[in-house]
Symmetry: C3
Subunit: 137 residues, 3 copies
């Protein structure tokens, strides 16, 4: 079965949608494989710790330093800048972090570890509506 | 169904093969899941923007700076250098970017977003013949 | 079919378990898709070169420099540090490298290239028992 999930973002950061996925899978109760695919090139999918919110802010802080905005002196070689200083860094982060994720499912339950949550990682500063295609089979 | 795609590269950079994948999938017309897997450890698979070619050159420029050739002073700690200064950096980039990608498919059409293309990202400087294993089911 | 593999780690580094996967798949002899998923947020799955062990030590050296321990002056902005200086860097590396991998399988044989091995990349310094969920179908 297939579905599309919509996540509304309000700037850079991690947005959890684990419960949406759990609800969708539990209806089937079957064994199989869950695959998520984000239909954009300026955000990512992450499976990360869902216990301490500081993990999420630290992740954002690290990647903002590793890939600074294109108006930062160290990034002056970038050419694709016309959508703003957060445009090309978003594409770079989208290359470094997953566009697709696959998780085995047993009896309608994804094999996530105790501390694992599913997140959309938004790399743009403006609000966006993000679509995630889901496949279970 | 399974297939193998061959991509001939001529140095570092992104090589798009979206249309090969679309053609292969459209013949079936079915729903399912597409998975691509690159059978090498010195190149990557990427889904990235296919509108502005400067995104591709900027991606290459960023990763060349993040992971300089092994004859660069900052990389003097690297030991696996006998295939040349682009050898170990290629393995590092292959660890940071996907070796496999999965995309849901509806009626033979992959759920790619409007601006998403499928690329092989070559990390070596010499020409190579790259093989990508494809699974649809 | 599904299974769970257990990998005992003894500090940071790459731990190969390709033969465990090959053995599990060969029993079926079937065509299909293998998917591996690591049920933790402080280690990664990698497909990398299995010929020269220096590739593995170089990979570890690179990522240790790219993401230094949180008691390093350059990382003073990190907040999630109570499990030790290797804690948050482990989460960051787990965001940069795969949590899931998919490999097409023909007649019970994964389509790995000649030099490709399957590794768990441990990012924590203390020993851990790591669980990898496997799906074949």
């Amino acid at each position: 079965m297939q579905a599309e999930f919509t996540i509304e973002t309000r700037g850079q950061g991690l947005y959890e949608f684990t419960s949406d996925i759990r609800d969708w899978l539990s209806a089937s109760g079957a064994d199989g494989l869950l695959t998520l695919f984000v239909r954009h090139t300026s955000c990512s999918l992450l499976i990360q710790e869902n216990a301490d919110p500081e993990v999420q802010t630290d992740l954002q802080a690290f990647f903002s330093r590793l890939v600074p905005p294109s108006d930062h002196p160290s990034m002056s070689y970038l050419k694709h800048t016309y959508e703003g200083p957060d445009d090309m860094p978003a594409h770079i982060k989208a290359a470094m972090m997953p566009v697709s994720l696959s998780v085995p499912v047993l009896s309608g339950r994804p094999a996530l570890g105790t501390w694992q949550g599913i997140y959309l990682f938004e790399h743009r500063t403006a609000p966006h509506v993000r679509r995630v295609a889901a496949h279970f089979g």
